[in-house]
């Protein structure tokens, strides 16, 4: 079994990051398979064989979508950018640039917010009129 999905020593990575990396690898494999089936369908003349390949490619579409949804649920900024780009009419690059810019502003605010769920008020000492 290979462990190529890890770029850092696996023993140093938290469990959720290892899971994240596994799903990223799976997403990559599904998209690769979608591309392979696309090429095979382009050259295969036998209708029965084409039908099987098309069905198999549909499976890969489903797998890809499930992997992607999992990763987006675990990565709010990625999800926010995806929401600004996916299923939108119009210029894809423009949507991408706008979504990235907006998510950057939110990421800055998020970075200042503690991850314990608190409001992050803390000390206000010295603040007055």
């Amino acid at each position: 079994m290979g462990f190529d999905q890890y770029h850092e020593p696996p023993e140093e990575l938290p469990a959720e990051t290892r899971t994240f990396a596994r799903l990223c690898a799976s997403l990559e494999e599904e998209s690769q398979a979608i591309g392979w089936y696309q090429q095979r369908l382009a050259v295969e003349p036998d209708p029965e064989a084409r039908s099987i390949m098309a069905d198999a490619q549909g499976e890969e579409f489903k797998h890809f979508a499930m992997d992607l949804e999992f990763l987006l649920r675990r990565t709010p900024r990625w999800r926010q950018i995806a929401e600004g780009v996916l299923f939108q009419e119009g210029d894809i690059v423009e949507h991408g640039e706008a979504a990235e810019a907006e998510s950057g502003e939110d990421a800055d605010a998020e970075a200042a917010t503690p991850n314990d769920g608190s409001l992050g008020i803390g000390s206000l000492k010295g603040e007055g009129r």
Binding site: P114, D116, G117, S118, L119, G122, S123, G128, R129
Partner: protein, 268 residues
């Protein structure tokens, strides 16, 4: 997900951003004690007690030849203020409505801020917290009937602190009525009273303090008044029904007056 169970609430990310932002804004304005005392933490919801550095002798030891003592700690107290938000208001917020009705959240934020201020300035017997004003050995003096009396009263309070070797800068917590008098008053010649008070306090802060009765002048040099936060103010999820999400504001903290003579109370 931690004990706040925020992930269980029927709220979108945008709804949470709205509620957290509103609560933060309301609380920051009303949390007077935090503007004037030392703040430690937050140390987390699991943090249960403040070390007082003291021990009480235990008369009976497990066997002869040893002496025994037990450490004294101050358990953290919890405050919680429930509130509800209409689900239809939250859906309207998702649609981009700029005027969501968060009145109940505002009420809860004000209540829990007042509770914290009262505990710090006037004490909370049930939680074994002594308040700054009540702990002070300095005899309370009247602040005065009108705003024009305030500079003399505050100057005397600052002088009382200096006489006890308590250095500045100094801060002033004013109850809501007293604060209103102060900002409304212009002294003879039109000089704003707040500017005059700030000079007396060596440019220390003057704080609107809902829950405070009268006023308190205290040193901000540090080490005198110790607020220890376990879980800092947070919004948690209780439950929901078909009409509303039932949430709450919550915090845990302790408060210790280390130098009672570092504050001078003024009565209204």
């Amino acid at each position: 997900m931690n004990h706040l169970l925020r992930g269980q609430a029927p709220l979108s990310d945008g709804n949470w951003k709205l509620l957290d932002g509103e609560a933060r804004e309301r609380l920051r304005g009303a949390l007077a004690a935090r503007r004037l005392v030392d703040f430690s933490g937050p140390h987390g919801w699991e943090h249960s007690a403040t070390n007082l550095g003291r021990a009480t002798p235990i008369g009976t030891a497990p066997c002869d030849g040893v002496v025994a003592a037990q450490r004294r700690v101050l358990p953290l107290a919890e405050l919680r203020a429930d509130f509800s938000v209409s689900l239809s208001e939250l859906r309207d917020d998702d649609r981009g409505a700029p005027d969501a009705d968060l009145e109940d959240l505002d009420r809860a934020a004000r209540q829990i801020a007042i509770a914290e201020n009262v505990a710090v300035f006037h004490g909370w017997e049930g939680a074994a917290i002594g308040g700054i004003a009540e702990a002070s050995p300095i005899e309370p003096r009247p602040l005065g009937e009108s705003g024009e009396d305030y500079p003399r009263s505050v100057a005397r309070a600052v002088e009382a602190l200096r006489e006890r070797g308590v250095g500045g800068p100094y801060g002033l917590a004013l109850g809501p009525d007293e604060h209103l008098h102060a900002i409304e008053t212009a002294e003879h010649g039109g000089y704003p009273l707040m500017d005059h008070l700030a000079k007396i306090l060596c440019d220390g802060p003057i704080v609107w303090a809902p829950g405070v009765r009268g006023a308190v002048v205290l040193s901000l040099r540090g080490g005198d008044f110790l607020f220890e936060s376990g879980q800092d103010l947070s919004i948690g999820y209780s439950h929901h029904d078909g009409e509303a999400a039932h949430l709450y504001l919550e915090e845990s903290f302790s408060f210790v007056v280390a130098t009672p003579e570092a504050a001078a109370p003024l009565t209204s």
